[in-house]
Every structure is written in C-alpha cells, then in structure tokens.
C-alpha cells in the first residue's frame, strides 16, 4: 500500500515539473508589442482585416480589436485600457475632456445607411424625402398609400401594413439616421431628436430588433417590412434597397460612387469631427455616417506612439484598398493629407 502511494506522488511531481517546463518554453522567445483597440461593430469587418495584415507584416507586433459597441469603446479610451478606440459618433466635448492630453480624431472610413424593404416582386422602390420621413414618423402606415404610388407609377403595391423595423439597442447607425431626419424634417427634430436611441412612434407597426444583423433578419422574415441598416448588411443579404431622394431632388441608388460623392463636399473643421447630415451634390447619397478612430495624444511610451502612427499610416494607404473591397467608402484625398497631419499629434 505504501509503495503505490509513493509512486503516485512521484508521478504527480514529475508531471507538474514537466508541465511547467513546457509552459515556459512554449511562450516563444520573441517579446511581442501588444496593442489593443475596441469600439464600433460597424467597422469590425474591415478593422479585423487591417489589424491582421498589419500584425503579419510587422514582426513582433500584435494588434487586437474587440467589437463591443461605440459607447463601450469611448468608455475604454477614457479609462485608458485600450490604445485606440473606434466610434460611429466620435466623442462629445465632455467625453474628450476626460482623456488626459486630448484626443486625436481620425475619420478612417465611412458608410452609407440604406432603407431596405421586403415586398415580393417589387425590385425598385423610389421614396421621396417627405414619404420616408412620414413612414418613420408613423403617418404613412400602408404600402398602397397614394403618396407612395405617385412616386412609383406602374407598380402595384399590396394592401399591407408597413412594418417599420428599428434598432432595439443604442447605436451609431441610429444616431446618423436620426441626425439626417432631423436635418431634413423640422417636425422630427422637434419631436424625436437625434440620438443613439430615440423614442419611436408608439404604434403597433413599429418593431425593433437588436443590431444591424437582427434588423436585416427581421426584414427578411417579415413581408411588408422596411428598416434602416448599414449598406454592407443589405448588400450581404441581397435585400432590395430603396432609391432615396437627395438634397438636389435626384433619386440615387446606394453605391460606392454615391457614397464618395456625398463625402466629397463635407467641410472639415480643425478637430476633424463633422457630420454630413444632409450631403449636397447631384449624385450624393443622402444618409452617410463616418467612423472615427480615436487615439489619445499622450501615450505610455514612444514605441507605442510610433507604432500607432505607423498603423494609422497603413490604414490611410493599403488599408483603404481593403476597405473599398469590403464595401466601405474610402477616405477622400483632401482628407487624407489632413489626417496624416493630425496623426503627428500622437506622442
């Protein structure tokens, strides 16, 4: 009996020692510089491509990005747990003041918000500014309403209720969409306002789903539904998108060209925070959103700062090609130069 206990104890001791040895040898000999960012889920697809490419092409560097939501990203940057964060609604003055030394805002990409709908057999739908803002205010509740028929001659609409699908959670997409509605409709600005979450009309035809993919799935499953989401989700699910009337009165389709046309005329202030609530231009897509990468001006070490500057540089050069391939709108040339200048402030 005693012999077997001794043997067991010896075996256990051996295995512990060998496990410890393996652990120390397997962590690798190279010290990796780790950087981490968090924030917007909208930019997650292209940001994870950027971080992977950058980490692969630079030895000893590992960048990770966590898609937690713009609000969580802003909170992380303020509390200093991340090196950079990404938000669809930048930061307001109060939040920016909480970061020691200030924040550099870099609008690294932009997206379009489209109105996707589910009507069997109707591949093309034109909605004027009045009509789509009336739909979202709850004034137009059936598809065979006269005001919709007038804009789409020759199309027979079913006598169905318009089920408006909104976002259940707070999001930068809602912020950009309500910002646009407030700009084009004073009644909206008065009653509902601009915000990451708003109180939608309390009618039975207004439902909500969590996140962009939830909205896309709900629209796909509900005949007669219409809702707002990022362009890439609508393109991915191959749902039809409505043609919207822009500020110049033209009906435009969402695409890379209409998106770029929307951003070309934006006036950029010193801190590079601007919202194109109602873009001007004949071909401009009316509802666009920017996404800002935010970096603290004061960083813990000069190496981190240098790596961050290199990462920003990568995003502005090779990164833009990747972004365009994935359906995001690339940064206009005049903005690139100003962003390179702003990135110099990262110390």
């Amino acid at each position: 009996m005693k012999n077997t206990t001794k043997n067991t104890l010896k075996n256990i001791a051996c295995s512990i020692v060998s496990a410890a040895a393996l652990a120390t040898f397997s962590t690798g000999a190279v010290a990796t510089e780790k950087m981490v960012g968090s924030g917007s889920s909208f930019i997650y697809p292209v940001m994870s491509a950027w971080t992977k490419d950058f980490s692969r092409s630079h030895d000893g560097v590992q960048i990770d990005y966590q898609s937690k939501g713009s609000g969580a990203g802003v909170r992380d940057l303020i509390s200093g747990v991340v090196n950079f964060s990404v938000s669809d609604a930048a930061m307001n003055a109060e939040e920016a003041a909480q970061v020691k030394g200030g924040v550099v805002f870099l609008p690294v990409t932009a997206g379009e918000i489209v109105l996707s709908y589910n009507l069997k057999g109707i591949d093309s739908l034109k909605l004027s500014r009045e009509v789509y803002s009336d739909i979202f205010k709850g004034n137009i509740t059936r598809w065979n309403d006269a005001s919709i028929a007038v804009l789409n001659p020759g199309v027979t609409f079913p006598d169905r209720q318009i089920t408006v699908v909104n976002r259940a959670d707070s999001s930068g997409t809602t912020y950009a969409f309500t910002n646009h509605l407030s700009a084009i409709d004073p009644v909206w600005a008065d009653q509902y306002g601009t915000g990451k979450s708003v109180q939608w009309p309390q009618q039975a035809n207004f439902i909500a789903a969590p996140r962009n993919d939830g909205v896309a799935a709900t629209i796909m499953q509900t005949p007669g539904a219409i809702g707002y989401m990022e362009y890439s989700y609508a393109a991915y699910t191959r749902q039809p998108m409505a043609k919207l009337e822009n500020a110049s009165g033209n009906y435009v389709t969402a695409s890379a060209t209409s998106g770029a046309a929307a951003l070309a005329n934006v006036q950029w202030p010193e801190n590079l925070i601007a919202f194109a609530a109602d873009p001007q231009g004949a071909d401009a897509w009316p509802i666009t959103t920017f996404t800002w990468m935010m970096v603290a001006k004061q960083n813990p070490s000069p190496q981190t700062a240098k790596l961050l500057r290199e990462f920003v540089n990568y995003i502005l050069t090779d990164g833009q090609v990747t972004a365009e391939k994935m359906g995001y709108i690339p940064v206009p040339a005049n903005l690139k130069a100003r962003m390179k200048q702003a990135a110099e402030h990262i110390q």
């Binding site: 937690k68 939501g69 713009s70 609000g71 969580a72 209720q161 089920t163 259940a168 959670d169 707070s170 999001s171 930068g172 309500t178 509902y192 306002g193 601009t194 915000g195 990451k196 979450s197 708003v198 109180q199 939608w200 309390q202 009618q203 039975a204 035809n205 207004f206 439902i207 909500a208 789903a209 969590p210 939830g214 799935a217 709900t218 499953q221 509900t222 539904a225």
Partner: protein, 324 residues
C-alpha cells in the same frame, strides 16, 4: 452474584471517553466554515443590492417616481421611463405562466398517475427535461425562423375576423407578444413539469390506496385528492417558473419586438425590463447606465415581491389542503 460485566470491567479503561483535541477542532472548524459560507452568501446578496442601489441613485434623484410611470426611452431627449417595460414583463410572464402551467401540470399528472407503462413514462420524462437544456438563444432563433412564419396565417385570420376582441386588435407584424409568450411557455414548461412530477410522486402510497379503496374514479382521485395534496409543490413549481419568465432575456430580446408600447393585443410588439437592459447596456452613456441600473432595481423588487407572494400562498395552502 452472577458474573457482572460492569463489575469486572470496573477500574479498567472505559468504553466512552471525552472528545480529543483533534475532534474538538474539526467539529468547531466545520461549524465555522458553514457559518462563513452562509454569511458570504447573505453578504453577496446585500452587496448586489447595495451596488445596484448606488448605481441607480443618480437616476432616482433625477427622475424619481416618474421613471416608473414614464413611457419614453430616448437618449436624444434624455427622458427615460419604464412603464411599458414593466407592463410587458408582467403581461408576457403571466400569459406564459397560464399556458406553461396548464400544460406542465397536465404533463405531470399524465406521467405520474398510472396512465402509461413505467418505462414509457420515464422516457417521456427525460425528453421533457431535455427541453430545459436548450439554450435560450436557440429558442430565440427558432422563434424568428420557424415559429413566426408558422403562426402568421393564423394570426392574420384572427385579426381579420376578431379584431373587436382586445387580444386581437392589432395587425400581426412578426415579432411581438404572441411568439414571445409561446416561446416563454415552452421554456418554463420543463420546470413546471419536473417539480410538479416530484410533488405528485411524493404523495404516500397509503393515500393512493385509501382513495382507490373507497371506489373513486381516476378523475375524482386526481382532482379531489392528489392535486390538493401536492398543491404546495405545484405552487412552488409555478412560482419558480414565473420567476424564470420574469428574468428571461435573450429569447425575448429577439422575439418581443422591443417597442415601448402598452397594448392588450397579442400581436402588438412590446418590451421587457430584461431585454431593455440587454439591448441598451453596451452603448449606453452615463445617464442611461444609471437609468438601466434603476430598471434593474425595479426588476429585482418585482422578482422579490413575486417570490414573497408565492411563499405566502404556499404557507396558506399547505395547512388547508395537505392534511398529510
């Protein structure tokens, strides 16, 4: 005198002895460890309440009672109110409890009162318990892709012909109270069934013998004797199921339509406290976080009240019905 074992043992080592030092230490040590465990749990509950309370305090100061009677949730105008959510939580949970409770207790009666061969009854019992193992996200997905399209034709017919009944007064939009209530009922069914089955099986055999010996039919035996005897257990099952329904988050976030409205109609969208918190928390700014904590405190209070009510009903019925 005959040989006396006690006398012959007198003077030698006794059979009994006082506890050794080790026995005293281990006895007291165990008692202390148990006390520490209990106080840790109590302190944890107090700590949770305290943290929620301090987190909610700024919102309580700002909104006061109007938070509970307000109907808008908007970070644009910075007004927050949870009356539609309280309504949605209670309405969906009560409806789910009625459906899930009726089916659960019926299943429990069917599986324990000798309607089936024991082997088949055991197999079905295990199948019911499998329902409890399905994650709620899966229920949510099943609801969106299978249940809603399946009830759409029935819902539209009901609304077309019976819209004068308040329950069917709005048009069916997809996600709403109806699919949410059905999925909730399916989720609480295994809880009700399992605990009710336990309660029914605990009835002593002599009660069975007595009631069948008197010549009662099976229906009379179940309705007049078995159910009242097991009533405290069945009530415990219903209270537990209600508590679970109140707190259900993921499945409801996907199915209930997340609209801040109050409506009696089964086809209208609604919102619950748990799904409001789950949806809004990631992107919430400071004031919204305090308001969400306030909503959490309200949910805790509702769950607490429901549990207290359940305990009280149990106490009241135990003495009246059981008699065992």
């Amino acid at each position: 005198m005959p040989h006396n074992i006690f006398q012959s043992n007198a003077g030698k080592e006794s059979l009994t002895r006082p506890p050794t030092m080790l026995e005293r230490f281990s006895d007291n040590g165990f008692r202390l460890a148990a006390l520490v465990a209990v106080s840790a749990i109590l302190m944890l509950v107090v700590y949770i309440f305290a943290e929620m309370g301090t987190g909610a305090w700024p919102a309580m100061e700002r909104f006061g009672f109007s938070f509970i009677t307000g109907e808008t949730w908007s970070s644009a105008t910075k007004t927050y109110g949870i009356l539609p959510e309280i309504w949605g939580t209670l309405y969906s949970s009560i409806l789910a409890l009625i459906i899930g409770g009726v089916f659960g207790v019926s299943i429990a009666i069917f599986l324990t009162q000798g309607f089936l061969k024991p082997a088949i009854a055991t197999a079905l019992r295990n199948l019911i318990e499998l329902l409890a193992a399905i994650p709620s996200v899966v229920y949510g997905l099943w609801g969106i892709y299978v249940l809603i399209p399946a009830i759409r034709p029935a819902a539209e017919t009901l609304h077309q012909h019976f819209s004068w009944i308040p329950l069917f007064s709005t048009s069916f939009s997809g996600p709403g109270l109806a699919p949410a209530v059905i999925v909730l009922a399916v989720m609480i069914l295994p809880t009700v069934a399992a605990i009710s089955m336990d309660a029914l099986r605990r009835i002593p055999e002599k009660t069975h013998e007595a009631v069948y010996g008197m010549g009662a039919t099976r229906f009379e035996a179940i309705s007049r004797v078995m159910l009242p005897t097991a009533s405290s257990g069945i009530l415990a099952a219903l209270v537990l199921a209600f508590g679970r329904a109140l707190g259900e988050t993921m499945a409801l976030a996907m199915l209930i339509g997340s609209a801040n409205q109050i409506s009696l109609s089964l086809f209208a969208p609604a919102n619950t406290l748990a799904s409001l918190m789950a949806s809004s928390f990631p992107e919430a700014d400071k004031l919204e976080i305090h308001s969400l904590m306030y909503a959490a405190v309200v949910l805790l209070v509702i769950t607490f009240v429901v549990n207290m009510l359940g305990l009280w009903i149990q106490q009241a019925t135990k003495r009246k019905f059981e008699g065992v």
